[in-house]
Symmetry: C2
């Protein structure tokens, strides 16, 4: 990767209707620790440095990466940010 790499961020979240088991487990653990009643959804964030001509090109490339590898479109949605 060259010096002029562009940094982008892909955030992957479970679709609203999909049960978030990990989130439920964390909410239970938080309740046990005395944090009271909460609702927790867990997602992943991929910070990617890539070679691209400009921010738009990087955004398009990150969208391809998200649909091709980082997210499961059946259960997940993704959001892309480029610095």
């Amino acid at each position: 990767m060259s010096e002029g790499a562009i940094k982008g961020k892909v955030t992957v979240r479970l679709r609203p209707g999909v049960l978030d088991v990990q989130g439920k487990a964390i909410a239970n653990a938080l309740a046990d620790l005395g944090f009271g009643d909460t609702e927790v959804r867990v997602g992943k964030v991929f910070e990617v440095s890539l070679d691209a001509a400009d921010a738009d090109a990087a955004r398009a490339r990150l969208a391809e990466m998200a649909t091709g590898l980082l997210a499961n479109p059946v259960m997940e949605t993704f959001e892309i940010e480029v610095d």
Copy 2:
């Protein structure tokens, strides 16, 4: 949790010096898929709805949750955002 719950986000990342094995694996997979040379770091994002008096109180509470459960301070850092 009441109707007036506050939504916050805790992003947990590996500290810069810590080897991100999952990120390396993803960078390798992206290369195999023809995406060229990239650098990838993987983090987690916890979206938490909680009862709190105001945004500052929510922020303080989320910081306690992060240090107490969501992040491992030895290897990870966290960042808090409140809507």
